[in-house]
Amino acid sequence: MIIMEVLYYPGCSLRNTYPEFEKSTYEACEKLGIELVEIPEWSCCGVVPSLATDNVMRHLGAVRSFINAQKKGREIGTNVIVVLCSMCYNVLKRVNLILKEEPDTLENVNSFIDDQPDYVPDLRVTHFLTFLKETGFENLEEKVNKPLKGLKVAPYYGCALLRPDRPEGVPIDNPDNPVILESFVRSIGAEPVHFPFRAECCGNYHIVLEPGIVEMRTRKIIGSAKSVKADLILSPCPLCTYNLGRGNESLDKSEQVPVVFFTQLLALALGGKSYLPTEIEDQILKKIGGEKSD
């Protein structure tokens, strides 16, 4: 049953590094009656927003995707783009807001992209979590047929969902006290555990030149989740997930905490395929099964 069609921007990481993030999302959307309509010929967003205000070149990937999204959106009657990857979300959201606020920048990019119709900035970029929240976490709760009861989940926000707070509208929640991931975790029946490092930076692009910095950062984040007895760390970001994985590799087995995408737990709770590694899925099932029997 399809109740809603939305535009969907996948991004490179979901295609070449973490297909489980995308596959579990499709699985969950099918159960929820959401049809993700992929933007035709989308371009790489550029991963990190350019902060150089005198150079719009780095925004062009995002704008090309918007132009294609606009065409498709008019066909299916929506202006909402759903994004999964935190980094893509941050870039697309920022660029779109900048184009709405700065007519000169809009004119500049439109005249640069002269092989396409102009972008009229009427699209709305939404993170999948915001989309779920707006359709109602209560509704989600009703559709959960395998509540992840007893599972202690450490929701890790990282940076890109919460910062920067300008242009206004980028953060998906209060940057200093976010609750959206915790609400999501509750709606799938699991228990969110609070850990102080939930919105700390994983080290971002330093994994390329200074992997030591990333390992130091992520060991702290993992240690913080471990100290509150988290079974899992929930991640919304492919780069955070990779970096946390490198942190885990540098720790003893007993100190590691597995990292999963939020959509994998969602798919599992909805009774679908989670695309989790068998070992982790078995651990989860054991944990929630154990709770049920007593």
Binding site: R163, P164, G203, I213
Partner: protein, 122 residues
């Protein structure tokens, strides 16, 4: 206006003189252990028109996490100032921070390499 200040202003769109050196940005920054000087000290050097800022590692250790930008009571986008300081170097002819041909691209995910290329190359 001094050339350094002018370029930082032009690239970042921020007025460095509105910084009153409270140190909030540095207090929130998670990467200060690795930095030659703290973020607010880097801004002070720019205010003082001190070109030595272009040779210190602080802007290069910055991970663009935006904690400073969210917390600055003067509303300065400190991360954008760090980016401007990197950009001034990156735009210099012959300056190479990273040779991506030498990076192990087989091992790293594309998202990391693209992000590093955006921040460290022209």
């Amino acid at each position: 206006m001094n050339e350094l200040v002018e370029r930082v202003t032009e690239i970042s769109g921020q007025n460095v003189y509105s910084c009153y050196q409270c140190g909030n940005c540095s207090a929130g920054c998670m990467f200060t252990d690795e930095m030659d000087i703290l973020p607010h000290q880097a801004i002070a050097l720019v205010q003082n028109e001190d070109e030595s800022i272009l040779e210190i590692n602080t802007p290069w250790i910055c991970a663009s996490c935006f904690v400073c930008s969210v917390r600055c009571p003067r509303g300065l986008d400190v991360a954008a100032i760090m980016e401007a300081l990197r950009e001034i170097k990156i735009r210099e002819r012959g300056f190479i921070k990273v040779d991506l041909r030498k990076v192990d691209i087989e091992k790293l995910p594309q998202i990391a390499i693209t992000a590093a290329a955006q921040k460290f190359t022209w």
